[in-house]
Symmetry: C2
Subunit: 352 residues, 2 copies
């Protein structure tokens, strides 16, 4: 009965659907790791809110939340419970004075049509003027603050610095590269394929782009940054990171935002470190990691710059919106194989 | 003729002996990489000084100077020229007003009985009160400043911090560990064997010691630092570093002083990075490398603390002095196999 209902594409009135984490992935996210469930929407208790999910943000780090990783920055999603994700939702019902029906809210929710929450970790939002809701969510929820705090708080660029961003066509990467450009830096993006590289040059207005699918990245960076890289904003790890490490300037900074090339295959079991790590000494590097969740209380600082840039069209952003909750797992998988162009999100319900 | 003379244990009056770099090492320092040469001491030109070498400091990084390594912090020693090393010498003759005969001087010299120099990169020293010359040289030339600037300028410990030092019985490591202790930190040393571990506990007064030859380092650190490591002072790299990375505290600092476990076998060809590098994100680490040569102009800051500590006996230091220039190569080789106990140096000439 449960199995039959989980195949139903739409929940009936009074029902909600969600992706349940059933098994922890080993290498790829295998087919039996998650299953789509349908359950009745529970009646709200005092203090609770029923959120109707509009958009689900898919982020590279989601893969890590499925695993039990020693020293992970948050506990693994428990087996048998809804998969977690950042969502934009509309308040459908509320028994919580902090949320009014019809309001837009953003928070750590579920891969689900609806979420019942006590409101903790959620924030009600005003619709920003002149920015489509999908774009506002795509930039302001995760990617934009990740880029802004990583670049500004960890990287600390000065005008004229040479900045390299890997996975520069990705959601956080494209914001990070443009933030550096808007701060007066010379920005080189690393991305794969003519479409992404073309967008970075023509739309995001980077100074140079390296296509790792057709170029030797280390040689290209050596040519494009003959005096060395002041700031590397790293999203990838592995060989791509090594190519940049070999081209850092003395005293340079490596902002470690993500290591997506190492996420499939068990980070917890010991991933692949940079082979050219000795450059940390040779170049006197500062290599520093961060997690955007630490900056939640300071999101306003990032938004104060990001919103005007979006309104004025100075910060370009590509959305890659997949339609329908049922496509969430396949969409996330595609991210680890560079299948997406821009910020990957799932439209689960209609904007009202 | 040249070959026969190079076997002579002592140079005659008017002659000097030196180790010449003939071939770059591949894995170990092979037998034909260096040869002992005897040549006439040249007449001094105006501005030159003849230094009679008393002590040669052997340092792990010497192995790197023999190789051509991309992005190395200084150029490789040219083939066919004297091997470089830090030495303590007595001014034998001087045509340079900055140096008087009989004065003690320290600088980047050669593995040699004598060095002719224009004095650049050398400093004349007063003999410090109450400290044997060998100890003053052993601590103040390289090991002490390396430890002091790495710990104080890069690590920046606060009283009560938990500090881990790898290769803690080595020259820089033993100073770094004791500096942290003298600054009010709780210090855990990692070393190999009962002799070194016993010295660290009984003489250097560390709070705890892990013997990597008999203990699982990661488990021991987890037990000894259950709340995590605030500062890791890393001298080793490889598995030893991974064991500490897994036990860092959120927001901790990794001072990368050396990666000795990766030096034999070709750093330039791509060494072995930390397998557990993803902790840089999970723990929001700052991983920062440094080279003591950058701090030459600031040596006085380190000496201002190190000299009184030595005079009062608060900083313990072990010297491992090998006798005779001809033993230099074997002595350096032993360092990469943990053969030395304390600061390794070669006595080349008598203290006058």
């Amino acid at each position: 009965m449960e199995a039959a209902r989980s195949l139903s594409p739409q929940a009936n009135a009074g029902e909600m659907r969600y992706w349940r984490l059933d098994k922890r992935p080993k290498i790829e996210i295998e087919d039996d790791c998650l299953s789509l469930q349908t359950v009745p929407i529970p009646a709200l208790e005092e203090g609770q809110v029923l959120m109707r999910v509009v958009y689900l943000s898919l982020d590279a780090t989601n893969r890590l939340w499925m695993e039990e990783i020693e020293n992970m920055y948050m506990p693994a999603v428990p087996l048998g419970t809804p998969m977690l994700g950042f969502v934009l939702a509309e308040v459908a019902e509320s028994r919580n004075p902090g949320f009014r029906p019809g309001q837009i809210a953003m928070g750590l929710g579920h891969w689900a049509s609806h979420v019942v929450t006590d409101g903790e970790g959620w924030m009600a939002l005003d619709r920003p003027d002149g920015i489509p809701l999908s774009l506002a969510f795509g930039v302001l929820a995760i990617a934009g603050p990740t880029a802004w705090f990583g670049m500004m708080d960890v990287g600390r660029p000065k005008p004229g610095d040479t900045v390299v961003v890997s996975a520069a066509a990705g959601a956080a990467g494209s914001c990070a590269a443009q933030i550096a450009r808007l701060k007066g830096c010379r920005v080189i993006g690393i991305a794969g394929g003519a479409d992404k590289c073309g967008w970075l040059k023509d739309e995001a207005k980077l100074d140079a782009v390296v296509d790792y699918k057709t170029e030797n990245v280390a040689e290209a960076l050596h040519r494009l940054a003959p005096e060395g890289i002041d700031i590397l904003y790293e999203n990838v790890g592995g060989d791509i990171m090594d190519a940049s490490l070999a081209n850092m300037k003395q005293g340079g900074t490596v902002v470690v935002c993500g290591l997506i090339s190492t996420y499939n295959g068990g980070v917890g079991a010991g991933g692949t470190g940079p082979k050219l790590f000795h450059n940390v000494i040779m170049k006197r590097l500062r290599i520093q990691g961060f997690v955007v969740l630490d900056y939640m209380a300071r999101y306003g600082e990032a938004w104060a710059e990001l919103i005007p840039w979006l309104q004025k069209g100075e910060l370009k952003f590509r959305l890659d919106i997949v339609d329908g909750l049922e496509k969430s797992v396949d969409a996330l998988r595609s991210m680890y194989h560079s299948g997406n162009s821009g910020k990957l999100m799932v439209q689960i319900g209609a904007e009202s």
